[in-house]
Every structure is written in structure tokens, then in C-alpha cells.
Symmetry: C2
């Protein structure tokens, strides 16, 4: 009986092509966050289960998380989201940290749920948070950062819409908020049936269904501020509530405007009371989380992935050095040239298989490596190499690692 | 009763300073691996427990790993090492992949053990592997990469030694190999007592204690090859066996030569039979794994961390823009300048607190941000700004984002 090569149910293997796309997401996240003065933090995905019981129900923890007892009888949970960990870390060091705090992280988070499109058991989620600013300026900065992130990926204003609301405008009823949060994914009929259950009183039901909520002054100021700064695809949307109970003010969702795929890409909001559970003083906070699955879908749908990643993938390796034989003198000569090129920052792989040169070149081409250099006696003796561009077929004779570096840099 | 702010036992929180050091390790790993033509892969840390039972014992799995049953009664384990996952992925796609395969990954791995220096319950481990090359050239490449990695961190040849051995030279007795693996950490007396238990026969014990193992021809060729290529701190060391049972040929350990801290930094070796458990054809492989805790210790001990990370940490943020008041016109002016600088790739934070300018500047300085620009009516009206270098106290008047970019780039 042989072992299966399948991964565990509901999680993904990242082969180099998928990992390169993930790395592209992450490095874009990093660049944009750092340009806004945000610093990266991280933590273990193992957390005491008590951290989630405090703000969620026992039911959610036991039905939707990976929780188990460790061998020391400690209750431990694989984090389902990063915000409680962040709150814990901020609370722990609140005396030493300088506020406002601008922090980001790219953790993996876990949900025990039925695997389905965009809802895996594990995904990677950018988290961006600003602690210690309770003004419109802080809310505007977080939304500007989310907007700039999509622009950094090449999205246009018309590709997405930022929908904002304020929890302070909404009924403080978790069941009602959860229903609103699901509204976009439900039929009108299902929505009305569920609403009827929540409002036995007919008049209140009518008010709810007709959307009697209105924009408050803070939201108007926020939308005007963003508009003045050139961010005009922001719209007040009373349906936006976000799933978590801890939001206490502005909430927002970034929506894909593609008619074939109209859905929330990611979102966030203000949560001013999350540190209460640690028994420390309040620190106002605003932030968002963005998952890798929906982000990649968005980039694919709008054809925004860079050409070296999509639809085909080219590795970062620039040159394959092909040895004509496996003699020590040849191999050492190849290794010397490889070392010189690497010192110049050029990614170089070596083919030491001893196969026919034609096969070695085909192999390099199949991998998407753009250049090859064949090395044998002549090259070793003369110190001159021919570098071949596999796309154009052009060959150029070069006599130094610097000359090679110049060619592959173009 | 308030929640504790402590992390789960035996794992670490990465505040920005620690995370910046981790990021420095990871980006150096990436750069070196990619210069050798290695591509990044990744996978979930959740794996079917069966993956580890195949090559380890039930005892190891149940005593030294995090294993539990999920809600669907599947046995799942938090990976204790990456190699079984890698073998699974390679076996799954062996028909599509182009060999030799050069892959690296930087996963977190989990061990359920007593927390102690350098042996946490979770750590991050660079894994570098070459599949499909069973020659001295492949072994030499892996060791050259390990050597180049330490040089990329600024280490000198005298800071470390590469100790090599060959499993084919050693008795194929797991108990004996485990004893040899622990030898460096034991007193001579303890070692002899344990050895006596394993060799009831006096003559065999003598032979074992006197180290009758000798370098084979393959190891001699490997050491000569590396030496010819300028890597001369490689030494045949019969004690080096490595912990895992799956090694089948060359094994190596990189040793810190610091007399205060003489210990293995990391290591690896050849494992040609790991794909057997999947019932697929053999693919020879060689690789190594390097943990973040020992690597950071090494860099600290040898004073190799860059100045912006050690002993004090400077964030990547280059400029703090300080607003003299909280009027909309001022805030929008600050936001406009921030946007222009960010478009030029400059990391900029905004102080919108409305505090006294002196306090804002002190705050920027405390964070280690090198430049400040104060913005008020005058600046808004004239479009001219004064940029102040907090280290030198020097102030320069500038009239464009480009001019600011030029100053902070130096």
C-alpha cells in the first residue's frame, strides 16, 4: 500500500508557478504598505483558544476553527484571523510602542469549513492596521492604502468600487448584521424570508427592507476627503456591514465591478474596543484584511498579472550554463563562470548532466530560461564564450562575466 | 478576568524589529537560492499524519509532533520538517516536472518539545533541494550554495567549517547513528557508556570508539572538487551522521568555529530513496535545511547583522510629513505630497495628530525616521518645503517631489 501524493483536504500545494504568483502578491503588498510607513510584524499561527472565545462564541470556535488540546492539556487554535493576535501583541507592549502604530502582516489563516471556490481551509491574508488614530484622517489613510494597492497591481478606478458604511448607523443586533452581511449572496426572496423571522413587527420589517439607514456626517466627510484627494470610486452602501462583531465605526468593502464577477474582494473597518478583553486602556484602531484567493482571481479576471507570470511562467533564472562533457576540467570551468556571474547578481543554473548539447539547450528552453552558454575545451582555453538568446536565436561572443551581465540585463 | 497577552507556549511574537531581522534572513536566502537557479515552492503546514508514519516511527509521530484528528476524523499533523512534503509534491508531478529540479522553500515547522535555547516549538527553516542529480557535481553544488549563503551574510571562511561524511561508510544501525549524532553534545564518559550498551562485543566496541571509519573515494573527490573551486574549509568528519534515517549518501554539517559557541548551524545530505513510499520510480536527491534561530544567533555572535537592524532597528520609512494643524486644507496638502513621494517609491508616513510640531519631530526621531518635512499654510501656498535631516540637523529648501526624492536617496 503506497502513500497518497494528495495534500490534506482543502489546502493547496504551491508549485513554483503558483508560488511565484503568491510571491508577486506579497512583494506588491510589502512595497505599498512600506510606502505608507507601515512596518511588518508576525506571530505564530498557534494561539491559546481563549483568545477567540473572548470575542466569538463557543459555537463559532468549536464549529469553524481548528482547535485541539496539546499534550500539556492546553487548548490551542490555529488562528482563523489575525486581528485578535494583533490586539494581543499591541496590548502586551502598549507602554513601549510609539503610537500611532502602522503595522502590516501577511499571515496564513485557517477555517474549518467545506472547501469551495475562494473559501479554502487555509489562505494567506494581508492585514493592514493603524492603531491610535480615531479621526477621519486615519480612516481615509486606510482606504487610500487599499486603493493604492489595487492601483499598484495595475487596476483602474473603473475596475473596482469602495463601498463604505458606518456600524454606528446600524442596529446593534448581531443576527441582523449577519443577515445584511450575507445579503449580496442571497436571492431577494431568501433575504425577505430571513428578515421576516427577525422582525415579527410588520412596520419594522418594512423599514428594514426599504433601507431606512442613511449616511452620517462622518461618512460624508470621509467620502468628500477621499474625493478631494482623487479617490472618487467610493460610495455609501448601507448593506456593507462586515462579518466580525468587533467593528465599531466605519466599515468598507472593495467590490469588483466586473459584471461577471460582482463580489467583495476584501474589506475592513474601525474597531475601537478590541483591547478591552486584555483589561488595558482603549486604543482606537482601523484596518483591513485581504485574502490571496480572491486577489489572484481579481488579477486573473482583469488580466493584470505580469507577463512573466501569466499565462506562462518564467523562472528568475537568466542563464543555463551547459557543459559539453563531465570532465573535471570542464565542470570546474563551468563552476568558475557560474560563480563570477552570481557575484554580479545574475541567476545562473548549471547543466552538469553530460547530455548532448542539443538536449541541454532544449531543456533550458522548456524551463523558460532565456539564455544559454555552452562550455567546453575551446571556451575554457580561450576564456571566450558564446551566449545564445533562445527566443531570437542570436549568438554573441563575449570575453568576460561583465559583458555577459550587460547582455542579460537588457 | 482578563485575557493574557502572552503568546502560546514555546512560540514567538515577531514585533517589527524581530520581523525585520527575519525578513533580512529570508530575502538573503531568496537572493542566493535564485542566483543558483533554484525556484521557490510552498505547501500547507497541515499534512496527513500518514506522511510521517511512513518514514518515522509511530513513537516519534505521537511524542514529538503536533498531531490531531480533524472534525472529519482525518489524522492531521503540523509538519515537523519539509522534506516529506517536498517528496510528496515531487512524486505527484514527476511526469510534468523537468529534472534536475532545483527548489527551495522557507516554511515554518513544528516540534512538540520542551522549549529551550534554539529549540522552539515553531521555527522557520530554509530548505534547499536538488532532485535528479546523483553525481558529485550535485553534492558539490548544494555545499557551494550553503557556503555562498554564509558568505552572502558576510561570514568569512574562518567563521565556519563544513564537515562531511558519507552514510554509506557508516553502520546501518539507527541506534548507533543516533548515538553518533548526539556525540558532540555528550561527555566522553556518557558517550562510552552508551556505546558499551550497543556493542556487547569488546573488540567491536574498541573499533567503534577508535573511529575506524574512513573517507571513501567519493568524499575525497567531493572535497577536492570544492577545494579546486576555492572552498577549502571542508573537512571529512566521521562523527557527522545527521538525525534523519532517510539519508543514504553524503551528509554534511556547517559548524560555527567560534570557540564560545562550537555547534552545528545547519546541515543536510543525500537521500535517494525517499520517493519509495509513494510507489514511484527513484529520483536521487540532495539538500539541506537551515533554521532561523541558529542562523540569527550565528549572525549576532559574529556581528554580521547590518547596521540598520542591529543593535538598533530603523524602519524603512524615510520621511515623516508633519501637519501644523488639522484643517482640511492642510491635511489634503500633506496627503498630496505624500502621494507624490510614494509614486516615486519613497516610504512616507504622515503625522496627522495635530500635536505641537516639536512633539511630532521628536516622535519621528524616536521611531528612527531620518527626515521630516513640516507642512502648513506657507508651504501649501508656496509649494516649497523644508526637509530636515534629524541626524545632522541640516535643513534644505526644496520645491518638488523629485528634489526630495534625490535628497533621501543619498
Amino acid at each position: 500500500m503506497h502513500l497518497s501524493t494528495d495534500p490534506y483536504k482543502g489546502v493547496r500545494d504551491f508549485y513554483p508557478h503558483d508560488q511565484a504568483i503568491l510571491h508577486y502578491l506579497f512583494s506588491t503588498y510589502r512595497r505599498v504598505c512600506e510606502q505608507f510607513g507601515y512596518e511588518e510584524y508576525n506571530a505564530s499561527l498557534l494561539e491559546p483558544t481563549a483568545l477567540y472565545l473572548a470575542k466569538s462564541s463557543q459555537e463559532i470556535v468549536s464549529e469553524q476553527t481548528y482547535s485541539f488540546k496539546d499534550r500539556g492539556e492546553r487548548e490551542v487554535t490555529l488562528r482563523p484571523e489575525m486581528t485578535p493576535t494583533l490586539a494581543r501583541m499591541v496590548a502586551a507592549q502598549r507602554r513601549e510602542l510609539v503610537f500611532p502604530l502602522r503595522w502590516y502582516s501577511i499571515p496564513n489563516v485557517f477555517r474549518y469549513e467545506k472547501p469551495q471556490r475562494g473559501r479554502l481551509r487555509e489562505h494567506w491574508q494581508l492585514n493592514v492596521d493603524l492603531f491610535g488614530g480615531d479621526t477621519t484622517q486615519a480612516d481615509a489613510e486606510i482606504i487610500t492604502l487599499a486603493y493604492s494597492l489595487l492601483h499598484a497591481f495595475g487596476a483602474k478606478d473603473s475596475d473596482f468600487e469602495i463601498r463604505v458604511n458606518d456600524r454606528k448607523n446600524m442596529p446593534n443586533d448581531p443576527a441582523l448584521l449577519r443577515l445584511l452581511d450575507r445579503k449580496a449572496k442571497m436571492s431577494r426572496e431568501d433575504f425577505e424570508r430571513e428578515a421576516t423571522k427577525l422582525f415579527p413587527n410588520k412596520k419594522e420589517l418594512e423599514m428594514f427592507l426599504n433601507g431606512t439607514y442613511t449616511e452620517n456626517q462622518e461618512l460624508r466627510t470621509l467620502i468628500t476627503t477621499l474625493s478631494t484627494r482623487g479617490i472618487t470610486n467610493v460610495r455609501y452602501t448601507p448593506d456593507v456591514v462586515r462579518g466580525f462583531d468587533y467593528y465599531s465605526g466605519m466599515v468598507f468593502e472593495v467590490f469588483d465591478t466586473d459584471p461577471k464577477n460582482p463580489r467583495a474582494l476584501f474589506g475592513g473597518g474601525r474597531y475601537d474596543n478590541l483591547l478591552d478583553v486584555f483589561g488595558v486602556e482603549k486604543i482606537p484602531a482601523v484596518g483591513f484584511g485581504a485574502g490571496d484567493v480572491t486577489m489572484r482571481d481579481f488579477l486573473e479576471t482583469h488580466n493584470l498579472l505580469p507577463a512573466h507570470l501569466w499565462p506562462h511562467y518564467s523562472p528568475v533564472t537568466k542563464i543555463m550554463l551547459c557543459a559539453v562533457d563531465t570532465l573535471d576540467i570542464t565542470m570546474n570551468s563551468v563552476a568558475t563562470l557560474a560563480g563570477m556571474l552570481r557575484e554580479r547578481g545574475i541567476p545562473v543554473a548549471v547543466d552538469f548532466s553530460g547530455k548532448k548539447i542539443g538536449d541541454q539547450i532544449r531543456n533550458a528552453d522548456r524551463r523558460g530560461i532565456p539564455y544559454v552558454i555552452v562550455i567546453g575545451d575551446t571556451e575554457h582555453a580561450s576564456g571566450k564564450f558564446k551566449i545564445k538568446n533562445l527566443a531570437s536565436g542570436e549568438e554573441i561572443e563575449v570575453a568576460s562575466a561583465d559583458a555577459i551581465a550587460t547582455i542579460v540585463a537588457h
